[in-house]
Assembly symmetry: C2
Homo-oligomer: 299 residues x 2
């Protein structure tokens, strides 16, 4: 099913719809961080901690393949080490949609498959460079942003935009001397930011060290506490519904693109010609496009 979801196989549509209805129990956790943040090693440790708590854990690792080498940008895929082969863990790597990022269409269906298969927690892991990150955050119940001490100011500037979307912050490489400084800086930024962006809750910043096994249990505790917080504050159902609606809108967008491609030389040919001649604006053409496709897909 995962392969079919990834391939976007049409014949998998009905099965995926059935699986979707059986999904919904799992806690979906997005984990993102810039390359070099030590995120992959941290994720492997976190998986071990989830297993130690007696839960089953599924992982969808987003693999941004390089347009040049065809291989992973990071070169080092998730370091599963001690947890690989454990019967309660399942890891799936999926390629991104292309060089410009964004989740592959099958990613969230893959999460459904793992969820329906009874995994208690499902991680979506990205390298967090651009659109992937945004898409992952929008699909997860809980988002963890991993920062590393000593990454340059440019990186920090890039990350500034995503600070507000983290539910939990992890600072990796906690054994380094600068780690404490990074923790303090993050806390200071978040302290300033909380009122400004209307956050209602103090966002935890957890210092971790993968080689020393420090902070891992605390990080898992913070992730679990965030779900608990969502449930008790009544935001859990709200967030899940927002995810469902976004998935519907994304699927609708995809439908527009596919149907336009499919019919551009057929019944859309007039529209394409008018666009080329400049006699219709993109805005006006958009309304005609939606009307065309709407009439065609009436269920």
């Amino acid at each position: 099913m995962l392969s079919r979801a990834e391939a976007g196989a049409a014949e998998a549509r009905e099965a995926l719809d059935l699986l979707y209805r059986r999904a919904g129990r799992g806690h979906v956790v997005g984990i993102t961080g810039v390359p070099g943040s030590g995120k992959s090693t941290l994720v492997a440790k976190l998986i071990a901690a989830v297993l130690a708590s007696g839960r089953k854990i599924g992982v969808v690792a987003i693999d941004p393949s390089s347009p040049f080498s065809g291989g992973s940008i990071l070169g080092d895929r998730i370091r599963m080490g001690e947890v690989s082969g454990h019967p309660s863990v399942f890891v799936r790597s999926m390629a991104t949609r292309g060089a410009l990022g964004g989740l592959a269409h099958g990613t969230l269906e893959a999460v459904d498959v793992l969820d329906a298969a009874g995994y208690d927690m499902i991680f979506i892991e990205t390298v967090g460079v651009g659109q992937d990150e945004v898409d992952v955050v929008r699909a997860a119940h809980t988002t963890v942003v991993v920062s590393a001490p000593g990454l340059g100011d440019d990186i920090q500037a890039i990350k500034a935009g995503i600070l507000e979307i983290a539910d939990v912050h992890a600072v990796s490489k906690g054994d380094k001397a600068e780690a404490e400084k990074t923790v303090m800086e993050l806390k200071a930024m978040l302290g300033l930011a909380l009122p400004a962006v209307g956050l209602k809750r103090a966002v935890p910043v957890i210092k971790t060290s993968s080689p020393r096994d420090e902070g891992i249990a605390e990080l898992l505790g913070a992730i679990d506490a965030h779900r608990e917080y969502l449930v008790t504050s009544g935001q859990y159902e709200e967030r899940r519904q927002a995810i469902r609606e976004r998935r519907m809108l994304k699927a609708a967008e995809r439908l527009l693109h596919e149907e336009f491609e499919r019919h551009r030389q057929g019944r859309m040919a007039d529209l394409v010609a008018e666009l080329a001649a400049g006699t219709v604006s993109p805005q006006a053409a958009a309304r005609r496009l939606v009307a065309h496709i709407g009439m065609e897909v009436i269920p």
Copy 2:
């Protein structure tokens, strides 16, 4: 008109459609580069060079406001210096759609307005962190990626994904000793990459120094040469049509989002309830959504 385009004012729709039909002469150039690359200073120099060639130049500068400070992430807005107030230059700053980036809806309409007003060249300038960059590239006839010597490997990894989309590379801070190394590295990467990504043309890498006024004329020459290349190879019309179709699809996506928001408590309430109950999958809901909206917007 620029203010109305930016505000997305409904009453501006018709006027923008009329302006769109008068646009299409200008050369739209997207310029992107990470924070700290010295891009803003380089753009100011480039504007002076365009003016010196006797052309009118419009600039739409995308300003990613910080979710925390409310101000610009970079802190330093475009340094217009010597060119500000020149009668043949017009600069407009526009905010991004939010912390997660992506062009504001009015950005491309603003380009139309400047184009229809007779500006020969229109720059769209971004800080190039994420979705903005992608959107800009997809809207421009020619894309310039600015790299700076000495930015870390992490930045380079992030940029790896966007290398293939540059039509012209500029290396800023050419007075620095490491600049030549950066030029060589870029050329080496591009040399490896050209066959791999099917590029048909050697992508120029221009070393520039803003304080020394070096490489600026060459950079403008490379930008002009790229348009010439597009025209003579027959790709110009192809690229313009791709931009028009993408704008149509983007506008159609926006229509879906707006209509869904508008009717979610009215005629879409059943769909929302079924999504919440889990009795319809996002995929199936998407078809119903498109059918609903399609019937409503029939022109």
